[in-house]
Amino acid sequence: MPDLSLATLDPMALTGANVLLWSVLTIGSYAIAKQIYRRWTHWWLMPLAVAPVLVAAAVLALHVSYRDYMRWTHWLVLLLGPATVAFAVPIYEQRVLIRRHWPVLLVGMIAGSLTAIVTSWGLASLLGLDEALRLSLVPRSISTPFAMEVSGDIGGVPDLTAVFVVITGITGAALGDMILARLPFASALARGALFGMGAHGAGTARAHQIGSAEGAIAGLVMVLVGILNVLMAPVVAMILA
């Protein structure tokens, strides 16, 4: 009778099985999280928050090391590369908006990026957080593929930045509403830029609910500021070093 216990299995085959199992589990958790949000639309039930919690529950329940889990599902994270490429189409489709408003939006993106760098770095230093944390907090306002890239470039930890990007997204939409209730900005341009610059995809989704102009501007600012930050990263790294 052949021995079928896991211990005698070829390690390569075992890795293959784990890649399959945990990839399916991750995609499944994501699908469930989306369904939950479709049914109950509370900000704290955003798939952004629920999907990682479901996967973390599975990892903890099955006593798997999170490092192994991250290794087995790393191919999913690699897909953030082609996701960057995909931003070309919305940029192309918004070319009229870009041609008309680029100086104003550029000023807004520079102001927002500088504020993000100075306040993240300054507050984190003030509270005594270590350097890896400070650097990982800097790119948290921009969209994930760009944020993780910038984080690596300036000496942060890309995985930690992914966590901070998620927290920014979950809280950003509510913070934006709070600000607009106290400082009612007159132009759709300012309202859209506020959400796209401050809270990437989650902010853009909220801006779309406020108005189509706000949504288009937010989406555009989110994409352009990501690219701007990747291009600026070497300079920022030199200044912060």
Binding site: L76, V104, A111, G128, L129, D159, V163, L194
Partner: protein, 130 residues
């Protein structure tokens, strides 16, 4: 010409083929980054390449719209594994976690207010000097 038409018609309809095409652009961008030694990620170069083809009308946005929308809509899935890194930082579930949260909240509010003020101020200045 007729084969070209048939290929582009199939590409217009199939989300899977379009996803494949996006992957090809990413591969090209990555190869270009390695070959040229430009210190930019392959994704950004792939984006520039695709945007250049769209702007020069060598490629219609329709032929990739479904594929690119799929990537943008499901982007959240791609960083779920990275977020699990938080399990390696038990210290986040304490005082350090609260400090991080404070930095994120205060910094996000500052970023939002400064961006909106800059945009509003700049567009007012431009309409006055137009």
């Amino acid at each position: 010409m007729s084969t070209h038409y048939a290929v582009s018609k199939r590409l217009h309809r199939s989300t899977a083929l379009q996803i494949g095409a996006v992957l090809v652009f990413w591969g090209l961008g990555t190869a270009l980054a390695v070959a040229s030694g430009v210190p930019l990620p392959g994704g950004i170069l792939g984006l520039a390449l695709l945007l250049a083809l769209l702007l020069s009308r060598r490629l219609s946005a329709l032929s990739l719209r479904r594929g690119t929308s799929w990537f943008l809509a499901e982007m959240l899935l791609f960083f779920v594994p990275a977020v699990l890194a938080v399990l390696g930082h038990r210290e986040f579930f304490g005082l350090i976690g609260l400090k991080i949260l404070a930095v994120i909240l205060v910094s996000t509010i500052s970023v939002m207010v400064s961006t909106a003020l800059a945009v509003e101020g700049c567009s007012r200045w431009m309409s006055r000097h137009a």
